[in-house]
Symmetry: C2
Subunit: 281 residues, 2 copies
Amino acid sequence: VNVVKLVRDVQVKSIEQTLKHAEKYLGDICSLLAAYTRKTAKLRDKADLLVVQLFDFSRTEDPELQISLKNLAEDLAMVQDYRQAQVERLETRVVAPLKAYGDIVKNKRAELKNLSTDLNKELKELQKLDKLRVRNPADRQSIAEVNVQKSSHNAQRSIRQLEDSITDFQRQKLDDIKKIFTDFITVEMLFHAKALEVYTHTYHNLEEMNPQKDLEVAYASDTAGNSTSHYAGSVLASPKSQSLRTTMMSTAAQNHRLQRSQYPITAQRVSPNETFHRTEA
Amino acid sequence: VNVVKLVRDVQVKSIEQTLKHAEKYLGDICSLLAAYTRKTAKLRDKADLLVVQLFDFSRTEDPELQISLKNLAEDLAMVQDYRQAQVERLETRVVAPLKAYGDIVKNKRAELKNLSTDLNKELKELQKLDKLRVRNPADRQSIAEVNVQKSSHNAQRSIRQLEDSITDFQRQKLDDIKKIFTDFITVEMLFHAKALEVYTHTYHNLEEMNPQKDLEVAYASDTAGNSTSHYAGSVLASPKSQSLRTTMMSTAAQNHRLQRSQYPITAQRVSPNETFHRTEA
């Protein structure tokens, strides 16, 4: 019985160690995954600001770039929506169940303490009966023998409960760890897959952007003196919606008619119906 | 010529506005993308800490979970390597070229100022010659007419240079924006694709993890009194590597041989060659 008590003490300490390990490592991992989730949310915040800025920027630009920037901003916003879903899922499916381990360990510890107290009592009872038997070796079929049987039965039941309890804890821990990290990987994969899908679309949109179109628009409104583009509007706006070159032309034409040879060749940049200034000149 | 000057003033202001816009928006977008890159680096840092913690945790666990946690930690570390590549690429291919726009705008501004100064001189010269012509209307074929021609030519050349300069700037800006954002999307896609690839592998690894194996190992060493697993080592270690139940059994057997009926049925949990305790009993 003394050996039993010694082993039990060691075992109870070992169980305590198991719980302490689970508490420490799962606690630390929980904190780090919570921090990971927070950093992901901060990344989303920065990307959201970028979306706003891209929309602002798009409004000051010509149609081609404007559409491209708007598409880019919309796609970037969509990825941030997926990142938001990622953050929420990480919180509910990864961080929360890990956080729950604090209480699970606490409850398990209380449970084990109760079982350990029961076992202590039962072992003390056994020890008492043992001493009784040593003093009365002849009294083998006495009432004490029945009590030994009963106490031994109780002690073994408590030990079984103790072991089952820690086995249950280990089983739950293993299942939970498997589930939590599978969920973590699933949440991450889902986000990466969605981001990849959206950005593939964005990539093709950007590939189709033709900066030359905006330059033509700017140039056309420049030579035509008729602005529809924002760029031309902001860069070349004049009280008469005429470019400096066009004004210079008219003034020069009225005064000296010298401009013919100096007129820049822009035919290759403007569309046929915008070249009337050149033919006029 | 006065109309020309007015238009020129408006145009120079418009060009200034274009440069200011580019400076402001590209500058803000640069700052936000730099912040986005920094937050990505911080996310990598947190994930790196998680990797270390998972490795630490794995060392305290049984073979099955130990291997799963190690695989998970290694895969997570690999994704962080890709994230590091992402951060470096964002810095060199997105943030740096956007940052360069500060200097590009500054240089362009200096260039336009010089061209504007030249144009001012030429327009003043034209104005002077105009007045001369008004005072001497008969002197049409004089040397003044040649000077008017020359000054007008110079002024037009300056205007052309001014317009070419801003067109060049717009062309470079459009090409650069297209390239920078295409690079941004490419860098992001590359990372998401790699992360998805690694995590798909991780997911299958986790799926294959069988928690039951670790419970069997723990149980086997429990009933066999022969610990090879870390879990059994920490939870059930005793001076004789025997579990409390095994010790209890022997003690009880020596004293009372009462244990037969109370011995827990564990056959379904242990492998056949580990059941000798039960048959022994």
